[in-house]
Assembly symmetry: C2
Homo-oligomer: 272 residues x 2
Amino acid sequence: MQKIGKSERLIFITSTLVQNPMKLFSLTFFCDKLSCAKSTLSEDIDLISQIFEQTGQGRLETVSGAAGGVYYIPTMKKEDEIEFLNFLKNELQNPERIVSGGFVYINDIVFNPEVIKKAARIFVRLFLEKEIDYIATVEAKGIALASYVAQYFNKPLVVARNSSKFTEGSTVNISYISGTTGKIETMTMAKKAIKKGARVLFIDDFMRGGGTVRGMKDLLSEFESSLVGVGVLIATKDKKSVDVDYKSLLVLEELNAENKKITFSINHQVIS
Amino acid sequence: MQKIGKSERLIFITSTLVQNPMKLFSLTFFCDKLSCAKSTLSEDIDLISQIFEQTGQGRLETVSGAAGGVYYIPTMKKEDEIEFLNFLKNELQNPERIVSGGFVYINDIVFNPEVIKKAARIFVRLFLEKEIDYIATVEAKGIALASYVAQYFNKPLVVARNSSKFTEGSTVNISYISGTTGKIETMTMAKKAIKKGARVLFIDDFMRGGGTVRGMKDLLSEFESSLVGVGVLIATKDKKSVDVDYKSLLVLEELNAENKKITFSINHQVIS
């Protein structure tokens, strides 16, 4: 940059932090790039932090000490979360989403960047304290959502497959009973996918009885790793036999294919 | 916001644009939010645009007229693209990636947010002029990459499945010969997934003979929609019988399982 004044610094710092969620940048990095003193930089960061909090665009966290710096946490204002969840609820309650067999068509939702970006921000807030090493999901409908959560946590995404793929080398396989199909399914993951002792957050689009979650937990135990949280977009009201901290954003209250009636509620636990 | 000076405006505008790639914001939107005159705002936007170009953080495009405004295009500097492609090439050339059967393990790469974010930015530059309505991919390994491309283009992602899922309502199915497996495979997409007359960009992780691309093209023709471009991370040197504009970032030059040798090259067409 040619002449670097306050304006130039603010633009560069804002853009760098926002484009790299959860990535720690040392103050030295910015001082070198922007040829400024640390005290000047600290003032800039305070100002950016204030504006973010006021406008609900996430927040900045500063870490002091030699290994310290600043990073961006992508969250939303509570009122924006509620507005988003209401939008999602109304969008899903469209009776045309009922497909034969009594299922709900949600493909457009789970692959819509605008929707899943916001859902991912809520999961960031919900699981921020969990010290997560990996985000995991099961193919295929949860992958896009999980990849945003992974981006926002700045952690790798691992995807369990429904059957062993020959392009993945040796794999670990487990069987589980899917609540959606009622059948025994296989979940498989490459041996190289996860390091020992990892803490994993499982993200998925839909949760019925929790069979998939139990499958994932078993699979992770084969990697000597643990499931520390579960975030799903929608859960049914079925009893979940799951002993992990799980959060669903919405609850499917009623699906009546005959009367063409489908009702969701916001899970108030996640916004209170 | 309490007092809104130039600093506050720059932070808010930068963050809003960067967090919403390709989304057009009217000048009126910012003027209202920030209580400022359009002339002031235009100066702010010019300054942000300059800093972005200088630091390689993408660029701003302004649209004049009543329906006009400004939006952010997430691209990289050419030298950053080259640095990234060299990093990717070296990462992939690790002989430990060779798995039995003569395949390459790339799961960690295709689901690593840091990697696919940058690849997606290159695809934005490559296909910016194509007036794309949808991003399409085939489950499962390309989904995360495709979802970033979709985010950066601000367009919906559609995912073709390997078999009909009963939760998707009526589907359109076609058969094609996969170059990877050499077998006849099925590709299926929900009837609701794509509107008539759409222009679609296909994104995938790996391309051999182009069988999947031809499959996607056939599938899209059932929706009276057209495939206007294909972007893949890696292509082999096999002859591609594909009549669509396709770009691969890297080329697999040699894979010799016996000698544990694996070589990639950067596709210089995409960076020249």
